[in-house]
Symmetry: C2
Subunit: 159 residues, 2 copies
């Protein structure tokens, strides 16, 4: 078990690009959702299965297990809901924390979300200049929501 | 990947009990269902996560991964849909095949289902005397269905 504490933000401008230390393209999909979402992800490091409680809070139960890449590709191709989420995750080191800036493609192109994992809900962190509005409590930004209601279809999208 | 070929039957009488070689109590629950069902199971040998396509056929895509028992108990207690499925699986050797006879408890008490895994849809097998009607194509007998529509609530139950 791990209780995950994750804060999500929009970005105000493109300034974050200059601070990126590493970028990883990834492809992920969802097998199912109920009390929990079940995600299959493949990136350059391998494949995993992630289970996360669907409670709408900053703190969520989360489990992650490595699985064979061949299984993951087969599940993405044959079992996961459409569309598959395609994104590039950019890592940015800032004030002792690592920001993960997800730049979406495909049906979610135009969406950029900066995430920060913390070990306590009240843990302090530095706000980089490019950081925008917090959206931790908005369910539309859950990756699992971006399958059923992709960014392309949002009437109030910024991109 | 594995394409699972599984046939399910009711039992005609209690004669199967005399042929049981081993019985294993198990507790399992479902995290979610969509294109696939995602099951958490704990039995005496450990815990695993099972992913199975929800297509209503004898042949289904299936994946299974061992996970830590502590994770499985936590998921069963906190994340899985209610009720949790409780059953004892009885193993019976017959004519070169192993029958798994699931005797349900709790909200599904009274239900007994005999299952046979085959390697081809047309593979021959011996029918023991106690074997009843085939129910492979009836979705109510899926364990995942027994959560949302337990045997207790069936108007036409045999038990």
């Amino acid at each position: 078990m791990a209780a995950e504490i994750e804060r999500k933000f929009l970005v105000r401008h493109e300034g974050w690009r200059a601070a990126v230390s590493r970028s990883v393209p990834m492809r992920q999909g969802y097998l199912a959702e109920g009390n929990a979402s079940v995600r299959v992800r493949v990136d350059e490091t391998g494949a995993n299965l992630n289970i996360k409680s669907m409670t709408l809070n900053i703190s969520r139960l989360e489990y992650e297990y490595d699985i064979p890449e061949a299984d993951a590709h087969e599940m993405l191709d044959q079992l996961c809901q459409r569309p598959i989420i395609e994104k590039t995750r950019h890592y940015i080191e800032n004030g002792g924390h690592t920001w993960e800036v997800d730049e979406f493609a495909g049906d979610n192109a135009g969406l950029v979300v900066a995430e920060l994992e913390l070990s306590a809900e009240d843990e302090a962190y530095e706000r980089p200049d490019w950081l925008g509005e917090e959206v931790s409590d908005d369910p539309r930004y859950y990756n699992v929501s971006l399958v059923t209601y992709p960014y392309r279809d949002w009437p109030d999208r910024k991109g």
